[in-house]
Symmetry: C2
Subunit: 233 residues, 2 copies
């Protein structure tokens, strides 16, 4: 049976649905329509119905989706039935924030280890776990059979960390360092890259057209009077 693998865009929306369902359930809402899910999520109702339909028929025509039932299905689809153990490499401000957030606010994930190379940070307590030297990571990865790892180290250390964790069995990396990690193709990397988000936001924060048209004017000038040389190397 071919699944032709569900598209990445669909998968990225599932956690949004899950979060909304968790909220609705907390508020005691039992039924939700795709229309209301739409206004909560910002995705269109059609898209939501289509996304869910990839995995099954979870709703009831005429009324909507049972929140508890749908939540349970999405939890299964994503693979969150049991808590996912992870480690965080890098115990600076960002690594600390990530560790603490996941330990306290993310019920689907547990952090079983935090690591750093910096001796000054080793021994530091984050919530209930202690920062260990990077060399201890391999042991923990194997002990807990860790498949998912967060990397929050400086750009120049990230590849080395990726190599290490992948070597010991990690299959998915959430990378906060601004570098493209090179990993075997069976390993998944998601980049959570602040700089890229911020810069693309800056693009939209000022009048787009003006900037681009002044750029075009410049190009015209350059056409006639070459200022740059292209002949080295």
């Amino acid at each position: 049976m071919r699944n032709h693998s569900i598209s990445k865009s669909v998968i990225k929306r599932l956690p949004v649905y899950l979060r909304i369902l968790d909220q609705l359930i907390r508020r005691g809402v039992e039924i939700i329509s795709s229309k209301d899910l739409s206004s909560e999520s910002g995705f269109t109702a059609e898209q939501i119905r289509k996304d869910l339909a990839y995995f099954g028929a979870f709703g009831t025509r005429g009324s909507g989706y049972n929140t508890v039932f749908l939540r349970e299905k999405i939890v299964k689809i994503i693979g969150l039935e049991s808590v996912t153990d992870t480690i965080v490499v890098g115990a600076g401000n960002l690594g600390t924030a990530l560790t603490r957030y996941n330990l306290t606010k993310n019920p689907y994930v547990n952090v079983v280890g935090a690591f750093d190379k910096n001796p000054a940070l080793i021994g530091k307590k984050i919530h209930n776990i202690e920062v260990l030297p990077l060399e201890k990571a391999s042991k923990i990865i194997e002990k807990y059979n860790i498949k998912v790892c967060l990397i929050a180290v400086p750009a120049d250390a990230a590849q080395e960390v990726a190599d290490l964790v992948v070597k010991h069995g990690v299959k998915a990396i959430l990378n906060f360092a601004p570098v493209k990690l090179r990993v075997p193709e069976e390993v998944h990397v998601h980049n959570a890259d602040l700089t890229i988000e911020l810069q693309s936001l800056i693009y939209y924060s000022s009048a787009e057209e003006e900037r681009l048209s002044s750029l075009k004017d410049e190009m015209k000038k350059n056409k006639s009077s070459k200022t740059f040389t292209y002949n080295e190397k």
Copy 2:
């Protein structure tokens, strides 16, 4: 002159090109082909050429792109010629990490203010700036004509912060809180949502097909023996 607004996917790739060019320039590389940019970025060479072509003809047939020239163009396109002043709201671990990162590692951005509601954090020094109470934000936004704001507060406080900063003129928000912010349509919001990234990664970290097919089996069973009721409301 219609620009039909360049697509978001293109804009998200520009900062990646910029980063690579910055690296290449630092290493003294003067010319780079789309092929080599491809291997550095992970995007295809065709895509890179097409992306750049939306804005102009920046390369030289037969040789490639002059790194300094192309960098300068991308800086102009994104709107990074002058440093962008920003503020960070939320001075917990994440807000502190973001503030420090941008102050020390991101030459295109300057943080002119950090704010929090928590009295325990007010007065705290992050690098060279001091955490101020949230009420002071409006003043700083107006004083520096801030257009871009980072929000790193807990989910339940994020909307209130968004309302405040938008009211005083912010046009672009990088939101780290796990909520959909409601803002006027001229305001841009990018969500940097750890939980979504992490959960979609978890989806890929274990055998997709097995999970989905066991889900399908369940659905079949449910078809005959209904376990859920849909008639409350």
